[in-house]
Symmetry: C2
Subunit: 210 residues, 2 copies
DNA sequence: GGATAATTGTAAAAAAAATCACAAAATAAT
DNA sequence: ATTATTTTGTGATTTTTTTTACAATTATCC
């Protein structure tokens, strides 16, 4: 039985929540607690969890560690994945310095930038390459994911190179809406202006839900 | 007739696309073109556009400028909105320097950080305040949107302060999943690790669509 | 100017997702 | 030990969203 996309999305968020609660030393969580924290109904959560096979314990809820492992195995979070970053301007390097990719099972093994001079001055501990090397490096290193932090103009060209190299997923932080020329490559567009607009639209058309 | 949430989301993306095409000097777009660029079916686009009232011209598609204005008016993009940023570390300042908020009708009128010393050394041309001033400033300046670029620990506390001040929408870049204690406040969680995981899940469970 | 092609708008059908309702099971309380 | 409470799992129902199908309209080509 195929897992619906909205369910996948919620399970990802739930996974983050479980990590957080686990670090805080909590042991169990009920569908009610989860629903409240994630802003959805408890039925919805229980239904989502049926896609994982049997899980909870009636009366006392879900065991955090067990559930975490089940989601991990089911959605493939248990495997380390190689990723790269394209565009090493301020935003790119800032993200690189902050995020704990490695500890979350993502390994940034390459950085790309079209500005060759910049590559030399950066003090970053990952191998850096010029953009035209993208297809070769992606293929050689078997990189699965890419993070795009560059200005809109070059985004589509870079995307083609990434797809050419056999990338599997792209998180696009550039302000253009990218679409995949290859339907087996998934793209997630993250644009702050777009997020602001979406929120504006929601409270402009004010609809009563969360 | 209430506009469905997925439709709102697509209309926001479409709006970005229209801006892009308009800048390139293009005049019209067909539902087919739009669908391809956005990775959805043309029917879906036409259906979405019915929520705006009559729009396209049979035979030649949609006039980009007209459509842009219609979406703008309908979703409230025609009004300038005040926003603030909370957390002025590397990521925060990087976003602030890159993004063209003002030209897209968002006006960043305040920055907040808990580190008072940092506030003094930053050379940013927006007024800066310590975090405890959030509720007062939000209320006084009538700020509608907030961008959260801070580490997970403080995110929930800051969120409460923002809600307390009467914020309407929050874009959360911190690694914790925030949920709103007030259902009239909309929150959009944007976390790179989460995006990576979502994409991993998609290609792990490989489902055939875009 | 008539034929052909492109394109929209929408009613109806289908598919997908969320919600409900409640029995069954485990826990906690007395 | 018995009762009350909590909480899960799931079939049925409802709601929402997408897709289909096609008539109607406009543009384009010869």
């Amino acid at each position: 039985m195929a897992i619906p996309r909205p369910t996948i999305s919620r399970l990802c968020k739930l996974y983050s929540l479980l990590e957080e609660m686990n670090e805080r030393g909590q042991l169990t969580l009920s569908s009610n607690d989860i629903g409240k924290r994630l802003g959805v109904g408890s039925h919805n959560i229980r239904k989502d969890l049926t896609y994982l096979g049997e899980t909870g314990t009636t009366g006392s809820g879900y065991d955090i560690k067990t559930l975490k492992e089940q989601i991990s195995r089911c959605l493939g979070f248990d495997r380390k994945r190689k990723a790269c970053i394209v565009g090493l301007d301020k935003t790119g390097t800032a993200i690189l310095s902050n995020d704990m990719f490695f500890s979350k099972n993502f390994d940034i093994v390459a950085g790309f930038d079209s500005n060759i001079n910049r590559l030399e001055t950066l003090k970053i501990d990952i191998p850096l390459y010029p953009t035209y090397d993208i297809p070769v490096v992606i293929r050689r290193e078997r990189i699965e994911l890419a993070l795009l932090t560059l200005s809109g103009e070059t985004a589509q060209i870079v995307t083609e190179k990434l797809i050419d190299g056999g990338i599997k997923g792209i998180v696009n932080f550039s302000p253009v809406v990218l679409s995949s020329s290859d339907s087996s490559v998934y793209i997630s567009n993250v644009d702050i202006i777009n997020e602001f607009r979406f929120l504006s639209a929601l409270f402009t058309l004010d609809r009563g839900e969360a």
